[in-house]
């Protein structure tokens, strides 16, 4: 069965997104600094950057796909332009139905309205024996951890404090970690854990 990997960047005070999320600043105040390792630290963090992609399927919350709330604006085709970096099926959790959106380069966004277990089932079918990425945001990561569906947790710990925002690791129930890896770079410390559930 596919390995399920949840991965996110977190400030040292536990936030994966800042406050005041807007169209211009989709991850909120401070989020650009939070993710500096991806841009200014590209050379130091090649393995971890590559590990964000290359999965057989991806699952993300609706806010990670776009800033729209309520009914869909069908002109919105994601943050990534016509060729998103996923190159595979992406299952977007939403309460609002929408036809699958086929993009260039192999990415198709599927909109799942019947819950996180259904999205995971569809991702497993699509991924074959490749891994599945729980790509965020905070609430989606939390829900899959509490479901007991996550096998591995990858955290890019950013050396900063956000002070406010969303904490993916709040509200967990019975999630057990085994630490397996840490590597330091100036802009992120990479942590890896095996995950199980009581």
């Amino acid at each position: 069965m596919s390995k399920v990997v949840a991965s996110f960047t977190m400030s040292l005070d536990g936030y994966s997104a800042g406050p005041d999320q807007t169209l211009e600043n989709p991850l909120g105040i401070g989020a650009k600094t939070l993710h500096r390792w991806l841009f200014d630290g590209a050379d130091d963090n090649q393995a971890e950057t590559a590990a964000l992609l290359g999965h057989g399927a991806f699952i993300m919350g609706r806010n990670m796909f776009g800033p729209i709330r309520g009914e869909w604006d069908l002109d919105w085709r994601g943050w990534w332009g016509e060729e998103p970096p996923y190159h595979g099926p992406v299952f977007v959790l939403t309460h609002h139905q929408r036809e699958p959106l086929v993009m260039s380069g192999g990415t198709t966004f599927h909109f799942v309205t019947d819950g996180i277990a259904s999205a995971l089932g569809q991702a497993r079918q699509a991924a074959g024996d490749k891994s599945i990425s729980i790509a965020g945001g905070a609430s989606t990561v939390r829900q899959y951890l509490n479901l007991g569906a996550v096998d591995e947790l990858n955290i890019q710990l950013s050396p900063m404090f956000l002070g406010a925002g969303e904490r993916p690791l709040d509200g967990l129930q019975g999630v057990i970690l085994t630490s397996t890896y840490a590597r330091y770079t100036p802009l992120a410390t990479h942590l890896r854990y095996l995950v199980s559930k009581t």
Copy 2:
């Protein structure tokens, strides 16, 4: 001038102590698991265990010295028995005056009632050119970080979630980190940061 080092063990969700602190369980529910690296992981974590001690002076909050609130019970001589592991001057932040308490092995507890800056000044005088440890708890660490008095932050990141308790890294203002080190052991990932202040 003495280097000032703040050091604490933190769960992956950011807590350095659990809820429901009592005399029997001074760091609250879950704290024994939080600090397993100190006991069950002694072989793996020798350098970091040694780094908790060996400073020229120590500063701690009152709750770290004892469970007493309000006026002192003079029979209380700390959690550590007659020979505490500090072997040097320890400055305890409190609102209640008390004469210095001379213990075996070179530890003397000094009770400081005129604030954190005064305690730091006294610790600097006592430490000479040795380092000063901000030994906890959460509120004491936070106050010295916000004062801009901390040069180095050492965190022992425990692979667990506490879910509630005290978070030393909440409520910080203008604290800037430079990541300098990470090392993984099964029961704790050791993180080190240089600290500055805007």
